[in-house]
């Protein structure tokens, strides 16, 4: 789950305008035998790797909050995971003014929250006002409403959401659960309360939430307003969805094997291979946004020398990494953006150690006695502080990279640290090498994540040329212009070796044969509205 944050580095996630669409969803062939027609009823038990901490997507930035939140809250618009198009949902139509500062939604009728109250313009206003209100301490959603000046109710079906400055990303953002609509009545109890349970208009309701343990969803009767791309209309098939939290990979896959659960989310590639071998269908979804990439701080001596950065990027054998650590279940990154991200442009070159070594020699860093290059008594080394405990074997990845760079005479000092410390040092700009992966279905992520210097944080990539390109992309809603500027941005990053793309994060969901109708939403998270159990 790249979307949103579980702890540190995914810290910086923001969804945005979806443009192009997420291909690369290879669903395994549904097992033959068993009935083909969906069978209502039954419970699906799913193990996932992290606890949202707070269920309310308005507040929590956690991807985990979306996994369950999506089933409970509906949004004004829906993003078709098939083609990424934004289609009506709670709003049956909408218009945007040219400057992208005013969005007018016409609401669908007859829609009610599970507490019985109607999804009316007032409710929409209540939701957006609440998100924007600092008291809500919204860590992510508020950012999606950047420049929000207010919502006006015009007529019994129409609302206008206004922004002080262009917010081209708002529409797609409105399709995420982060800006989903919740029953205003539930706000009264204050932010704490909605962390424990949320009330929406979705096909499921929150039946139980035991932090660090499980979240149970119950089917809501009389659900009539599924987005059109859904496989069926009406009530969800599943009577109950129980999401248990098990941070340990082995535990999740082990539990699936031993039949203790029906589905294991965020499966480790190696487990996926094993599970497939044992006949468990594994659904795979490559995600959009910033590929897992390494960054060398280009303002720190001596790494301000582009030659060195280039050498390093050539020396890192990403093919070996994805093969060794991810059994090619994750693909090599071709650019700082993943292929499924709008405006993606393959930029990466073939890594060659010999070439890298040559470049380093040329740069005037001879290999020392201990095999590490140095110049004027200064060793050519990089301190890399990454988050521990690491996920996706990123600790091993770090050690592999360390060895690969050592081979060309670059010393890497690994410094695994608690989340807090890593973030702290990043916000101080006090880092030499760091890593980020980051989901968002829009290239604008490059600006908000790598460029933004908000909160006094020095940008991860301070580069004028890049900044201009990204600014251009953000200023317009014109697809052609945007694509062009993002291509320039990626070229700039590649040629300056400002980022070293490693792999494309991918969501792996393993299920037992009885589970049918697994679907992913546009963000790449599994959804259970169409899911049913064949037993």
């Amino acid at each position: 789950m790249r979307l949103g944050i579980r702890r540190p580095v995914r810290a910086l996630a923001i969804p945005a305008v979806a443009a192009l669409i997420l291909a690369g969803c290879s669903a395994p062939s549904e097992p033959s035998g068993g009935s083909a027609t969906p069978r209502p009823g039954g419970t699906l038990t799913l193990a996932t790797d992290s606890d949202p901490g707070c269920l309310d997507p308005h507040q929590s930035p956690a991807a985990a909050a979306l996994l369950t939140g999506r089933g409970v809250v509906d949004s004004l618009v829906a993003q078709d995971p098939g083609n990424g198009a934004l289609v009506p949902w709670l709003a049956e139509s909408w218009t945007v003014d040219p400057r992208a500062t005013a969005y007018t939604f016409t609401l669908r009728t007859g829609v009610t929250f599970s507490d019985g109250s109607p999804v009316a313009p007032a409710a929409v206003k209540a939701n957006f006002d609440r998100i924007a209100d600092p008291a809500t301490k919204s860590l992510l959603a508020a950012g999606m409403l950047a420049g929000y000046t207010g919502t006006t109710v015009s007529g019994d079906r129409t609302v206008v959401v206004r922004f002080s400055r262009p917010n081209a990303g708002f529409l797609q953002a409105a399709s995420t659960a982060f800006l989903g609509l919740q029953a205003p009545a539930s706000f009264a109890a204050g932010p704490q309360a909605t962390c424990r349970t949320i009330v929406g208009s979705g096909p499921f309701t929150v039946a139980e939430y035991v932090p660090q343990q499980r979240i149970a969803l119950a089917r809501r009767a009389g659900y009539r307003w599924a987005p059109r791309f859904a496989a069926h209309q009406g009530d969800a098939f599943l009577e109950k969805v129980v999401v248990t939290i098990a941070s340990d990979n082995g535990v999740r896959s082990g539990s699936l094997r031993s039949g203790q659960i029906d589905a294991a989310g965020a499966v480790a590639p190696r487990d996926a291979v094993a599970l497939e071998r044992e006949g468990f269908p594994v659904h795979r979804r490559e995600q959009a946004g910033i590929a897992y990439s390494l960054f060398v701080n280009s303002v720190k001596e001596p790494w301000d020398d582009v030659a060195l950065r280039r050498a390093v990027s050539r020396a890192i054998d990403t093919a070996q990494i994805v093969k060794t650590l991810y059994q090619d279940r994750y693909t090599r990154a071709g650019s700082v953006l993943t292929p499924t991200t709008p405006g993606y442009l393959a930029t990466s070159t073939q890594p060659t150690a010999t070439e890298a070594a040559r470049m380093l020699d040329a740069a005037g860093w001879p290999v020392g006695a201990d095999g590490i290059r140095s110049r004027a008594g200064k060793r050519l080394s990089l301190r890399w502080s990454y988050v521990s405990p690491a996920r996706e074997q990123r600790d091993l990845l770090a050690q592999l990279v360390q060895q690969q760079l050592r081979a060309v005479g670059v010393e890497v000092l690994l410094d695994p640290a608690p989340v807090g410390d890593v973030i702290a040092s990043q916000s101080r700009g006090d880092w030499e090498m760091s890593d980020i992966s980051f989901l968002r279905a829009d290239a604008d992520v490059l600006r908000t994540v790598l460029q933004s210097s908000a909160g006094g944080r020095p940008p991860i990539i301070p580069d004028g040329t890049l900044a201009d390109a990204l600014a251009a992309g953000a200023a317009t809603t014109e697809p052609a212009v945007r694509e062009d500027s993002y291509h320039r941005a990626q070229q700039r990053i590649a040629e300056q070796a400002l980022a070293i793309p490693v792999y494309n994060p991918t969501y792996l969901l393993a299920v037992n044969k009885a589970v049918r109708g697994i679907a992913f939403d546009a963000q790449g998270l599994p959804q259970f509205y169409d899911t049913w159990v064949d037993r």
């Binding site: 540190p8 910086l12 707070c54 343990q213 410390d421 909160g455």
Partner: protein
């Protein structure tokens, strides 16, 4: 010969207890102070970390506001006094991460922790005492030898290792107990066993050597000289005399069972104080850390009081020595 009036026993017990209570006060203060101290020595800025999760959207005003709201802008002494005052009101503040009241978080985590600790304690006592007693009663040299070595073995096994193995064998391969579901009696078995093993070892070791010592005591010989069977001697005479150190240990162990079960909790994905602590450490969640430290401190002190009371029932001498020293 000075001796308490026979009837006076319970009175003495309470006097003694009161004295212990007084003694506990400074310890308590110390505990919370240490907690406060350690927590504030931890490098790193909690606000930065909190806002860090907000990513690109941090604006300086909100940071300052937060700082103020969390009293982090005040000098340390002020924070300390505020902390004590709040503590006195039973208010442990709010988590920097979730904003929930710390008391709530602790209450939440304490449940599973207590369940686990309780089960582990029970298992440990059963296994440990059982092993020691069996080793004492059995005629077979072999069994006796084995039982006298097992404890140290049990103590030497790293918890993380035992836990992982148990999980593999019993949950995944045999599928006897669930690895998931965190709580509930069946899911508590494996973690409980993990914690119980070393505890059982400790108890068996202490009880065992205690019994071997008691065996030579002349009151034991006297009892046998009256014609008592080995079993009677063991149960009626030796056990109660050797119980005291075991009780002491059990008491001191509870703390590590409650707060020190991090490893087991991590591996079995259980909620609990241990994980709460580690998580709080990683996010510099001062209030939570202070809260837990204070909570555990109080718990331990209460337990040691309980243990003291237990002594007075187990060993009449304690009552008198407590007063007639």
């Amino acid at each position: 010969m000075r001796r308490p009036r026979p009837g006076d026993r319970s009175g003495i017990r309470w006097r003694m207890l009161r004295r212990r209570l007084y003694a506990a006060v400074p310890v308590l203060l110390g505990v919370v102070t240490v907690a406060f101290g350690i927590v504030h020595l931890i490098p790193g800025d909690p606000v930065q970390i909190m806002l860090g999760t907000g990513g690109a959207f941090v604006d300086p005003e909100r940071e300052a506001a937060l700082r103020q709201e969390l009293r982090l802008d005040r000098p340390l002494p002020d924070q300390y006094l505020a902390f004590l005052a709040a503590l006195f009101r039973g208010d442990l503040g709010q988590s920097l991460q979730t904003g929930e009241p710390v008391t709530a978080l602790i209450a939440e985590a304490a449940g599973p922790s207590l369940a686990l600790a309780g089960t582990a304690l029970l298992l440990g006592l059963l296994l440990g005492a059982g092993g020691a007693v069996l080793g004492q009663l059995t005629g077979s040299r072999v069994l006796r030898a084995v039982l006298s070595r097992l404890p140290v073995l049990a103590m030497s096994l790293p918890a993380y290792w035992v836990a992982t193995l148990l999980l593999q064998i019993f949950s995944f391969h045999l599928g006897l107990v669930p690895a998931l579901g965190s709580t509930g009696p069946r899911a508590t078995i494996l973690p409980a066993v993990t914690l119980a093993l070393p505890l059982a070892g400790v108890i068996a070791h202490v009880l065992g050597s205690g019994l071997r010592t008691a065996e030579r005591e002349s009151y034991v010989l006297m009892a046998r000289a009256k014609g008592a069977t080995r079993t009677r001697v063991l149960l009626r005479h030796m056990l109660r005399n050797t119980a005291v150190p075991v009780v002491t240990l059990t008491g001191t162990t509870v703390g590590s069972l409650l707060g020190g079960a991090v490893v087991a909790e991590t591996i079995f994905g259980r909620p609990g104080l241990g994980r709460l602590i580690v998580n709080a450490l990683q996010h510099h969640d001062y209030p939570v850390l202070q809260g837990i430290a204070a909570f555990l401190g109080v718990t331990m002190i209460l337990i040691s009081l309980l243990v003291d009371v237990l002594y007075t029932y187990l060993d009449p001498r304690v009552v008198s020595t407590a007063v007639w020293r």
